[in-house]
Symmetry: C2
Subunit: 227 residues, 2 copies
């Protein structure tokens, strides 16, 4: 039923959150895994710098020019000091990755990565992995809306410009926002089997893009083919 050995099946997932994370970067993968947890014994830790609720709201007033009061807060279960051992860490992106006070978050990712079975980033979540230093020399992708910035953030990363998602070793990096849904379904297929992934896509009524090279958005943003 599963694509890998039973003892290697990951059980303990972590979701990293930080102020002004992108909601769908996190909740696309989470919704898939929430449903998967009915069929496999899975645990989730939601990890942030403190246990205070973490909001998607803009921190930077210049990005909220109309003074909107719009966002959702999620409740962390652990902070960087008491997070349990993890098999899989999921890092969403969002405007918050541009903040200048993320060193504790980079430190957490840097010291957590060596014991992970898998790391999954969505959108500019790859900026966090890059700044933690763990993408150096690896193939990876990110959202297509800020490609020039992505390259600056990770000068030693082999960034792939045309990709829905990229797998290098145990690191899965998805392109922008909704690409996290496709990458997570592909991850489920890899780890828990194709039937499981197909069942989840059907239950989510989601037209799953199964080809990691499918990327009309790279073309929309006129990105040269490079990696």
């Amino acid at each position: 039923m599963t694509a890998i050995n039973k003892e290697d099946i990951p059980k303990n997932f972590g979701l990293l959150v930080f102020p002004t994370f992108q909601a769908l970067d996190a909740f696309g993968p989470m919704d898939i895994l929430n449903m998967l947890s009915r069929d496999f014994p899975l645990n989730l830790s939601i990890i942030a710098q403190t246990l205070e609720p973490v909001s998607t709201k803009q921190r930077d007033p210049s990005l909220n020019p109309f003074g909107s009061n719009f966002g959702e807060s999620v409740v962390p279960t652990h902070d960087f000091n008491n997070a349990p051992p993890l098999d899989v860490l999921i890092i969403p992106g969002g405007y918050g990755v541009r903040a200048d006070d993320l060193d504790p978050l980079f430190d957490f990712v840097r010291r957590t990565y060596p014991s992970l079975k898998y790391l999954l980033t969505v959108c500019s979540g790859s900026w966090i992995a890059a700044q933690a230093g763990i993408l150096d020399g690896k193939r990876a992708t990110s959202n297509k809306n800020a490609w020039a910035s992505t390259k600056k953030v990770g000068p030693n990363v082999k960034w792939v410009s045309h990709a829905r998602w990229v797998v290098d070793g145990n690191i899965w990096t998805a392109s922008g926002v909704s690409a996290g849904i496709d990458a997570t379904l592909a991850f489920v297929e890899h780890v828990y089997g194709a039937d499981q992934a197909k069942k989840l896509a059907r239950e989510l009524e989601y037209e799953w893009h199964q080809d990691p090279s499918w990327d009309p958005f790279a073309e929309m943003y006129n990105l040269p083919k490079e990696e």
Copy 2:
């Protein structure tokens, strides 16, 4: 720029949450609206029976056979007694709609609907609207995985079996889970204009299904064409 008169543009949104709501039902639409709130002055209230965080976790142990500890909690901003006036109410679905203690939630929807500009339901969120009595005689849809139950829950609703989403008057009902993303983009197109919706779909790197009759999932579940 917008598709409707400026004074009719909705500003005040509400998201209804309840235990064991489906994460993506809520956060697909929310992510789109979070981004829209950079371009329009929008406010969000997250409304629940109490101000305690509300989790996606299974309430029903029989639906958690492996004892998983997996879910995310969001923080309500208002309860049913202090919610502010709303222009748009969004109701997600999820296993929680099957609970037998939802009368206060039905009451809230019933008394809130008359002053709304728009109601949007996703997936079995339409069960809540149906049980509040506000879908009677109206065309509506729901997820395709539990169609027989949908028909029982709303015997006086004109359920449309093959539809990504359905609009009847000011009520927008989306099919299962990810259909909420397509319906919300169509709603943004209707209210805020096609350019705005296209921009958001591109930024979300989401392949938007713009045809409300697109529904391969109704076929997967072998639903007869009916409404």
